[in-house]
């Protein structure tokens, strides 16, 4: 039905439907599933997402590099924090998801397990601020899915292929577009927000200490969630992405393909290769 942002935008303009409605039609066409099944399955994904940040304390993780971040953030008085309560809540939830994932909790990989905190954190926080319920959030998950599908079609969401910009960058772009539709913005603004989010993280490498999905992944989930919120806020204010979404996706892929393999999930570069990263890896993997 659509292979890129431009085609998606055209469909939205022709039908006067939001992105999430086009995503449903597209899914019906490509899989033969009916509308109710698609909405049910999306609702399951949303329930799983909400469940993945529910445990603020969290269990110990397999590698023991992270833990307790969400709890610390929850003890801050959101209104008095530097970023205000919305960002504080989003960061807390993103880091709760990351800990839950690293402690073998149940998550929805959207688009990947490593970036699983970004969508739940950004969407749930926005829903609360905008006074929206589960139904709107489920629609927003579909909006995000349409963006993710375009990125997978034309680039990659895999850290091993394109670095963290492909994983957390994609999650952040997907969430940014979803937030725009939740806030009543146009499909074009949603694509602009996705483009901005990807640009802000472009070039970010995947360099996990000891190869585990813990550090610096959890903090990048917090950063990705807030990046989604700021990108959506820019687009909703009418600030456009100077370079259109499709070209940004291509650029991100180009950067990913040029990335040395040390910087693509092999734990041989970046933070993983620092003396501290190496020492931690040796201790964990011994």
């Amino acid at each position: 039905m659509f292979n890129n942002g431009n085609e998606l935008l055209k469909l939205c303009q022709e039908t006067k439907l939001p992105i999430w409605e086009i995503a449903v039609l597209d899914e019906m066409e490509s899989t033969g599933a009916d509308r109710d099944d698609i909405l049910d399955k999306t609702a399951q994904a949303w329930e799983t997402m909400k469940g993945s940040f529910a445990d603020i304390e969290g269990r110990p993780t397999m590698g023991g590099l992270i833990g307790g971040e969400a709890k610390k953030l929850s003890l801050m008085d959101g209104e008095k924090t530097l970023l205000g309560s919305a960002a504080n809540t989003a960061m807390q939830r993103a880091m709760a998801c990351s800990q839950h994932n690293a402690a073998m909790g149940r998550i929805c990989a959207a688009p990947t397990a490593g970036s699983c905190g970004i969508m739940p954190a950004a969407l749930s926080t926005a829903a609360e601020r905008l006074g929206l319920g589960d139904e709107e959030a489920i629609h927003a998950v579909l909006t995000a899915g349409a963006i993710g599908k375009i990125i997978v079609t034309n680039a990659t969401v895999s850290g091993a292929e394109g670095g963290c910009q492909a994983e957390c960058g994609s999650a952040s772009a997907m969430a940014a577009a979803a937030l725009v539709e939740m806030a009543g913005g146009s499909p074009r603004q949603a694509l602009d927000a996705a483009a901005i989010a990807l640009k802000n993280i472009m070039g970010l490498i995947c360099d996990p200490i000891a190869g585990l999905v813990e550090s610096p992944c959890a903090k990048r989930n917090a950063s990705g969630a807030v990046n989604a919120m700021l990108s959506a806020a820019l687009a909703l204010a009418g600030i456009e992405s100077i370079v259109p979404f499709d070209e940004v996706v291509e650029a991100m892929y180009d950067v990913g393909l040029e990335m040395n393999s040390r910087f693509r999930e092999t734990a041989k570069g970046g933070i993983a290769a620092t003396p501290t990263g190496q020492a931690l890896a040796e201790r964990i993997l011994k």
Binding site: A45, G105, A109, A110
Partner: protein
């Protein structure tokens, strides 16, 4: 340009973390290995190749493998308690680091001893995003993903056997998606792997087992999220 079939390839899978390839994929491989064994499992040896050798504990691969052998699905929150569950079930197990040669970097070989004493050897790889490929069953090369209902028949390599098997499926209105046929040597033992679009009934499986020259029928049912 890559073809993405479903939006749920991007929004999902729903799985137990931390890694789609090292946790969810490992659990799925083990769960398939369990059904290929076709009987209750007494003991299993996991031979870990490539990247599994260094990070298998940090990614919970060990727990995912044990849980899969016990029949848990990759999204079952019980994965984290796999050591306790294995103990309760009286399962014997061992993890061995082993170079399996020129195979996919995320490959595992399962050596499973059933309660009857029969040994089943399965090799499979976790190829990313929780997807897997089984590449060898008891030394015979195979190639299937475990995403479809899969029927594996071990039979005498004799003319007509393939049509006998497909007739059973046709009679029940089951559509065959892919068929892979191989044999150890001409006229010896053959293996046919059929991926089908709908679940076979117990009666279908009984009919297949009753066919002349068919020695063994194994059926794998995919996990429904």
């Amino acid at each position: 340009m890559k073809k993405v079939n479903s939006i749920f390839d991007v929004i999902g899978p729903i799985m137990v973390g931390p890694s789609s390839s090292h946790t969810a994929g490992a659990a799925k491989l083990a769960r398939i290995a369990r059904s290929l064994c076709g009987e209750e499992i007494k003991k299993v040896t996991f031979q870990l190749h490539g990247s599994f050798q260094t990070t298998y504990k940090g990614h919970g691969t060990d727990r995912a493998l044990l849980a899969g052998i016990l029949g848990l699905s990759p999204s079952d929150p019980g994965l984290v308690n796999a050591y306790e569950l294995a103990k309760e079930a009286g399962l014997e197990y061992e993890f061995v680091k082993k170079d399996l040669g020129p195979v996919h970097p995320n490959t595992i070989k399962f050596i499973i001893t059933g309660v009857s004493g029969n040994i089943t050897e399965i090799v499979g790889a976790s190829i990313g995003g929780g997807e897997v490929l089984i590449s060898s069953l008891n030394g015979i090369s195979v190639n299937f993903s475990g995403n479809s209902y899969t029927v594996i028949s071990i039979q005498d390599d004799t003319p007509g056997i393939v049509s006998e098997i497909s007739r059973v499926f046709a009679k029940s209105g089951i559509n065959m998606a892919t068929i892979t046929l191989s044999r150890s040597a001409r006229g010896k033992e053959g293996t046919m792997i059929t991926e089908i679009d709908s679940a076979p009934s117990e009666q279908d499986l009984a009919r297949l087992r009753a066919l002349p020259h068919v020695k063994k029928i194994i059926c794998y049912m995919p996990v429904n999220e």
